[in-house]
Amino acid sequence: MTLQTTALSEDDTAIIARLKRPSFAGIDRVQRRRQFWIAMLFLAPAVILTTFVLLAPILFNVWLSFTKWKKFTGLDQFAGLANYTNLLNNPQFGEASTNAVIWVTASLVLPVGLGLIFALSLRGLPFENTLKTIIFLPRVIAPTSIGVIWFYVYAPKGLLNAGIEAVSGAPVDIGWLYQDNTIMASIVVTYLWQNVGLVMVLLLLGLAAIPKDPIEAARMDGATPWQVFVHIVLPLLLPTLLVVSMLSIIAGFGAFDLLWVMGLGYPGRRTLSLSVYMYFEGFSKGSWAYAAAIAVVLGAITLVVTWAQAWLQVRADGLKG
């Protein structure tokens, strides 16, 4: 049954073209302009503050990374890519990068993995809220304080060694935070202890947002609890997992306080991660321009991660249609 007559169906583009003719143009432009300025008024404080306090410094930092600004001798002499070539030639940068990658991988995989396990097993358990509170609690405490507490936990005569001694009966003297082979793992454990609560809560929120119906439908469709998890829950949780992963990666690259405080007595402290290395080069050594270049590398990495996440997110949303 076609009803459309040719007279009734003037093409949209034709109508728009007709309306755009001078005699018609701009009937609602006045209102649009007014709306724009009202919007600007509301945006102004946030935009001005973030632009001047956050974005301008980032640009300045990029510029700085191309100068010889070091100890006020070479002030703003252009250095081209010198800082970046120095980066590549400096074994410490390589070491710091490698460590950063290890650190970020560990601080992504472990908290997300454990967080997922916690989130799944705590749901609906008695005392759920108490348990959640306990696991989340370290997160509200400053990383510096956390660092101090764990510094003493890991100390040679600290709680951990004492605990192992008490269990094994043999004297233990491990300098957890002084040895190349233990320090990273030790800090990762602390980081995990502090951050898994956050990941868990984010995942719980993600789980809570999954509609109950498809899960019940799957149960009726004959799926075992494990199959329900694999085929329904996990795919629907994927977008949340992606967000959490991105946040974890960015947080991982940016992590400073914990590494700085806990690495206090470790000779390799400055290359524990890129963020620490940057702080060391800039604030301890005064190689500002070089440090700025490290910061730019860090920024580039996070941009890529964010971009990749956005890309994956679109694909994950694509899963839904």
């Binding site: 439908a217 149960r219 799926a223 994927l238 899963l319 839904k320």
Partner: protein
Amino acid sequence: MATVTLSDIYKVYGGHVGVRGLSLDVPDGAFVVLVGPSGCGKSTTLRMIAGLETISHGELRIGGVLANDLPSRDRRTAMVFQSYALYPHMTVRKNLAFSLRMAGMTKAQIDARVDEAARILELEPYMDRKPANLSGGQRQRVAMGRAIVREPEVFLFDEPLSNLDAKLRSQMRLEIKRLQHRLKVTTIYVTHDQIEAMTLADIVVVMKDGRIAQQGTPFEIFTSPANQFVAGFIGSPPMNFIAGQIQNGQFVAPGLTMSLPQGRFVALHDGSAVTLGVRPEDIVPEGHGVRPVNGVEFHAEIDLTEMLGNETLLFLRYQDTALTARMQQPRAVEDKEEMSFRLNVDRVHLFDAQTGATLASSPATLSHALA
């Protein structure tokens, strides 16, 4: 295909009882509709049958087998949810195939069944779309498809049409009916819409407050309501109720005295308070439609009218009682117009004013009178 038997089923939530001692026999292949106002326990009952809620007390048998503690996946029931509950991350094809994959069927078997279901439901063009890219009606069909591919012994529907607009709703209603006539699978269908109940059911179960208020064929429910609640719930616009008394075997209300048909009602004491029920189509405007043979005449002022095209509803006020009458021919009626009506005495219902129970002498009498 299987019978479903509920005996004295209770569901208790915290301090509060959702379903109270419900007993119901669903014969093999029957289409049973649970209908009732919101919160009366329809969904809870259905979900207990599906195994999505535990049963607090009582016995549930599916195909004769005690199913109280059977996990959902072993009950051979399939359910269509109000929200459709499609798997948002899977294509239509995968949605349909999911249960078969879980059952460990081969690819060929799965494809055969899925294609068959898609054909029946005319879903072929959409097989590779995700649910988000389907219209409401299409999603609804996918949900049904997912239920039928499993070839379950019992279909469960929980308000499957309530998210569709009026047009689509009546269309899908027909499709569901056709489907069930074709597959002949035992079906339990929950709705709060009495029209769906009337049109779809072999057996209508009207529920109230976790209990069954009446069960029977749509025709029985409509013509011989067991109580005032059912009488008021089924039928649209709802039955008119007039409060009155029995005096000398007659029904007496302000401005209305009416002899009651012989034998239709149980013996009634003088002075007992009763409620008279009369459907809008049994208040006939003089000069329109079939004039009731045995009628009581009265005049009333029209308060408001609703012209529905093929018929007009007249809202009138007679002696402080608001009444609705149905006029079969469309005719413009002015507000405040004074009209005469004839109330069809042969079709009135009478209820105990206290308990609301019907005072009909036998449930069947009225339906015979009407047939």
